[in-house]
Symmetry: C2
Subunit: 603 residues, 2 copies
Amino acid sequence: MALRATLDFLLRDWLQVQSLSERPRFAEHSLEGYAAVLDSCERIAAEQFAPANRACDAEEPRFDGERVILPASTKQALDAYIASGMLAASQDEAQGGLQLPCVIETAANAFFQKASVGISGYALLTVGNANLLLAHGSERQRAVFAQPQLQGRWFGTMCLSEPQAGSSLSDIQTRAVPDGEGFELDPLGPRYRLHGHKMWISAGEHELSENIVHLVLAKIPDAQGRLVPGARGISLFIVPKHGVDAEGRLDGQRNAVALAGLNHKLGFRGTSNCLLNFGEGGAGAIGYLVGQPGEGLRCMFHMMNEARIGVGLAATMLGYAGFEASLAYARQRPQGRSLGLGGKDAAQPQQLIIEHADVKRMLLAQKSYVEGALALELFCARLVDEQKTGAPEAAAEAAQLLEVLIPIAKSWPSEWCLEANSLAIQVLGGAGYTRDFPVEQYWRDNRLNMIHEGTHGIHGLDLLGRKVVLNGGQALRVLVARINRTVEAALQRPALAAQANQLAAALAQLGRASKAAWATGEPEVALANATPYLQAFGHGVLAWLWLDVTLALDDAAVSSDFAQGKRAAAAYFYRYELPKIGAWLAVVESREPLCREMQDGWF
Amino acid sequence: MALRATLDFLLRDWLQVQSLSERPRFAEHSLEGYAAVLDSCERIAAEQFAPANRACDAEEPRFDGERVILPASTKQALDAYIASGMLAASQDEAQGGLQLPCVIETAANAFFQKASVGISGYALLTVGNANLLLAHGSERQRAVFAQPQLQGRWFGTMCLSEPQAGSSLSDIQTRAVPDGEGFELDPLGPRYRLHGHKMWISAGEHELSENIVHLVLAKIPDAQGRLVPGARGISLFIVPKHGVDAEGRLDGQRNAVALAGLNHKLGFRGTSNCLLNFGEGGAGAIGYLVGQPGEGLRCMFHMMNEARIGVGLAATMLGYAGFEASLAYARQRPQGRSLGLGGKDAAQPQQLIIEHADVKRMLLAQKSYVEGALALELFCARLVDEQKTGAPEAAAEAAQLLEVLIPIAKSWPSEWCLEANSLAIQVLGGAGYTRDFPVEQYWRDNRLNMIHEGTHGIHGLDLLGRKVVLNGGQALRVLVARINRTVEAALQRPALAAQANQLAAALAQLGRASKAAWATGEPEVALANATPYLQAFGHGVLAWLWLDVTLALDDAAVSSDFAQGKRAAAAYFYRYELPKIGAWLAVVESREPLCREMQDGWF
């Protein structure tokens, strides 16, 4: 129940989600109602997802020549998810949704991500797909393609990457040409024929749902048949696996979307991952334009913040799962004895390993990473709510904060909750290295998160190259002001003053490095150390959040185990982790040219 | 050929192995002879080991009810290893050995470890087993049990851990009782009957060799049938899988050593790993005492330095393999464009990813980790030679250096070459996460090395708790003196003076922390941060070695690609890595009590 207690505390005492009920959209909700949602999700995750998690790894997706085969327990778990109504968690009640705040939806999904990140993948992609259509699709597209996904009858994908274009989306070569005379009059939207290959498509093929709605980025050639270079040539299309009529009924035609191959992955095997061929050797796959031509990337990235919170949450909950498993092991495994002044007395019984300082160090590090990352994801989800339903000034501030925090929300847990998973293996020792325990799977699963939804390096470039300098540094100033509010509040508490001062110093150091990086104005120079900058910025943000979380601990329960644990995790972060930023920022501040000046031949 | 060029440079220009020919034991050898050994091993590794490495992972060891099944290519590769004569690399020529220095044997084995760490496991365990018998066995034991291993007819294991006793060997419960009247008169050694369970036994069962020689730690009960608590009750036994007569012929009897189960591992699957039952339900497994009763651990750990160099080398070469694979990928994969002042020009062709600063950072980090670790392992192997064949004073100094360096030689590559493997995955991006490329396997394989042959935490305790304080700190003083020689030499070179000063400062910082840790004299207090100490000590040692290696670069070839690469890797280590010790040493120096004071209930 440790996760639930922490979620309740973060939601109620720290983020004060009860205050959302003052807003019209959430007026019908209450803390009790939120608790009921969390109760239900926690139960379904434990009963349906967790028991299926090893099978979805051991029996990885395979193609039998006709169909992609998944374990039966995957379908059973997803059916339970559908029945929970969580696919429409954020939709209007009038349309059958739960009309939940993003922060509650995120907290509820944490249980599923912890229980089985691979199985959760299908559901979360489907929600993302439907939400994108609700935001950018025509009324008919919303009714035909989004509604069946919110009901769980159809599932969705996002088709961005191609074999030759991953991080560099502007280089995609999938072509979409108008489908004959009157193509623009199709009730489902302007009808195109698509030809191309899409790589790394999660949930790209399976038999879990009646249909699969692919959202596909492609380029519409100009009159000379040329593709426009760069991102402005990219449009967005709905490409259903099975053809549908104007009323959304399957028309019995298989669209020209073919599985070209399954990727055999290190982990995250619960979610099938595919190379898809669109329109190979024929007239092309039928696709319906969403929004305007050339607006594809803008539409796709409209939901980017929530998608990246989703990846950050996945990384976080994999870390959490490993923390739970290694804590349970450490509490029951006897090994070794304490180091007294007279050495160890072999005649005494062995201790539990949780009594060894180094094991406690590994558990405390995990706690500080995973609970800190959970606070980060919930904070960002709460900002999404603020952006959507807050007063104008607060909404604008939330939007600014999200600009600079989203790269951290995606990248920080991907790196440090992976490290948490490695520590979980280490706590178990040899046992952790076997498939008899779940921790090795968490570690493999989590290694994906630094790669997809923007690689670590790309997020570093996004943060230092775009977000930090956006509007003359406005977003960064908003963040600094917000952090300073925490520093000032903490300075009022004698027990927190030292951390407050340490945080203020770290913030000053980050500020100096940000300025120094851009002192010459040359992107190549500034961004050569964007990844160490990302790491330092992330540690700074996490230190701030830990201090802010600590401020929310109930004074009346100051010596409770719960409060002591939170304070110890915060203290761990300040004493063992925050000092690491010195090494990372030194190279940023000096604009260390070593890496960019390195020559191929010298390797 | 990058590895070979680096090996040649480290052996000849840095470690000056040619000078070993001045010693009687190596008088017949020359640089040309060593080169021929390396040529041969490089070729066999590339032709027989590398192609078999994926199969030994994909077709992990399985038990068909009678036998443990391995891929045929594993046996074929090991046959080639046997034919190379490397099993007897260090043995006297008079007895059919190659009489090679340890440093050359280590360099030659690097090729096999890089090509397939899992397959190499069988060979290296066999060498270790035979060497231990040659050192501690009777003449008959050497002839009967060591010789067939040096010839590759029999393979060997080390049976230390038990299900309830891994890091805490003093708690083993395997019992050995005298095998009836006249047990002490058996020509193969005092004959005992063993009962017990041994866990995590690498190469514990297979069909690769005619027989398996298990070296087993067990306790001889006292007259009341009680086991003596602690390490002093432990003895060492030879327990062959198949019984042998006094002449070493198989006697047709299967000894009571039974496979109780194969461990299904995250990686390192090329080497079978077993739970073995000794003497279950019967009269006991026949075992022959090696050395004196109660001397088991001492005998087993006699070869400890070489075993730990072997593990460190395995970690290093897995890192090296990932470095090679990711470098090759980065040189052929186009993606993205450079960041000019005017932004990116999408109309230009894509760049190779090796041209991106962040990719170069990831490659340079790998280079600095894996080449630095290789220098460390070769340096330690060279010290083993010095200890065995040097003049008395030099031999004594080498022994002291090995005391403090061996924990680093084992632990540092296990941590940082694993990080190198993660960076290799990151360079490949999505491709690196699939089993279509080898880097994910290297990462999985390497995760074992922080666990076996003493966990990371155990090596931290060994370093700070024993080695650093040994004989009043004598070993540490010898190391500091040796490092200061490097500092002084580097101060003579203007280009290296900054690194020399940085190293001297790091050394002073390490010295202060070592003293501060033990200021109260209480082990619990000093050792609460033994792992951060181990990390900082390791980074200090690697920085020293990189500076020392740089000093050996040929002045005449100062601007060669080779020299530029070595200098860049050293510079990377000084600018990006060495500054990390500040954060690690801060908690050591302040005797940070957070982890040891953490309470179970607070998690």
